[in-house]
């Protein structure tokens, strides 16, 4: 068994703070498997009544955007202010908006 196999893999933890709200990323931890990851998440991230539900996912399963491609991915949105609803002036005649 190599050192990498002996070490517990990394997991990302998502906590739902209360029913109806979405799960939010809370942090990460090490655990041997999914069951242990849930238990560790309970011990590490819900000690102060932070949550009612826990998701865990292997960090290696997460596909991330490449920071080097930041310009191509995110710059084009910068000069398109008309994508915000606040860009538009609402005529006085329009009610109930």
């Amino acid at each position: 068994m190599t050192q990498a196999e002996r070490d517990w893999p990394l997991w990302e933890v998502f906590i739902r703070s209360k029913s109806g709200l979405e799960h939010k990323h809370a942090g990460s931890l090490h655990a041997a498997d999914a069951t242990m990851a849930i238990e560790h998440a309970r011990d590490l991230y819900t000690r102060r009544m932070e949550g009612v539900s826990i998701w865990v996912v292997r960090s290696s399963e997460i596909v991330a955007s490449d920071p080097g491609e930041g310009a191509a991915l995110f710059e084009p949105a910068r000069d398109k202010v008309y994508r915000h609803p606040t860009f538009y002036e609402i005529p006085d005649e329009v009610k109930n908006l």
Binding site: W8, H30, E39, D43
Partner: protein
């Protein structure tokens, strides 16, 4: 208030308190930070239980002793915890074995105490049972992991199980106090708890591919104040501050 009821509450409170103190020794030393926090969480739950039991005991006694007075100003022979929980931590596997044996006991005992005629005691049991369910999950899963793990981990937990098993005899050895509270409907008959404990423990031991140790005649009596030298060291550390600065607060 009967002496038996007072003693019974001390047994419940001291068992949780001393086990918590033992688990506290792991803080900063557990194999991983995740387990460090897991053990500390369990210790804090147990201290919470001890406070409820000891506060109640002090009130029943009516001599003005509160939870702190009882926890920090009694000596070894006055402690009523099972000898099992004062045993040294050993390695992580031995700590898990000790925890598992006691968690299973507390789980079955608290479930019975829900029906206690003493409503306050039933209330404490209801709160504690939820915590203990989680402790049991933690310790039983770890026992399976280690028992059914590597050759080294299997051998270590098997050795710990064989060493600690004789200390469980005390848990079910009903004495005058146990019989008195059972008769008053305050506590369960220990035979009832034992009848649930044995199959519950046996199932996990089997899943962990461990061998159930042979029964031996060894019988400790921590619950009657007869302790090994280990408890003296536990108390020395736990009580130092209140002994050096009586009544000190911060």
């Amino acid at each position: 208030m009967s002496q038996a009821q007072f003693d019974y509450l001390l047994r419940l409170g001291d068992t949780s308190l001393i086990l918590a103190q033992r688990l506290g020794e792991w803080v900063g030393h557990a194999p991983a930070v995740e387990e460090d926090l897991g053990l500390a969480n369990i210790a804090l739950d147990l201290i919470g239980q001890a406070r409820l039991f000891l506060s109640y005991a002090g009130e029943l006694e009516g001599c003005g002793r509160d939870e702190d007075r009882l926890a920090f100003h009694r000596d070894v022979p006055e402690f009523r915890n099972f000898a099992l929980v004062e045993q040294p931590n050993g390695d992580f596997g031995a700590t898990i074995v000790r925890q598992f044996l006691l968690d299973t006991y507390q789980r079955e005992l608290y479930a019975e105490l829900l029906r206690s005629k003493d409503e306050r005691l039933a209330g404490i049991a209801a709160k504690s049972l939820k915590e203990t369910e989680y402790h049991w999950r933690f310790s039983s899963r770890w026992l399976v992991r280690l028992g059914d793990g590597t050759a080294d981990s299997h051998e270590r937990v098997q050795r710990a199980l064989t060493d600690l098993w004789p200390y469980t005899n005390e848990l079910f050895d009903a004495d005058a106090t146990d019989r008195a509270v059972a008769q008053a409907g305050i506590g369960p008959a220990l035979g009832t708890v034992e009848a649930r404990w044995r199959p519950a423990v046996g199932a996990v031991i089997e899943e962990a591919t461990l061998a159930r140790p042979a029964e031996r005649g060894k019988l400790t009596a921590g619950k009657r104040g007869m302790h090994g030298e280990a408890l003296g060291y536990v108390l020395a550390e736990m009580q130092f501050l209140q002994r050096a600065y009586p009544g000190g607060q911060w």
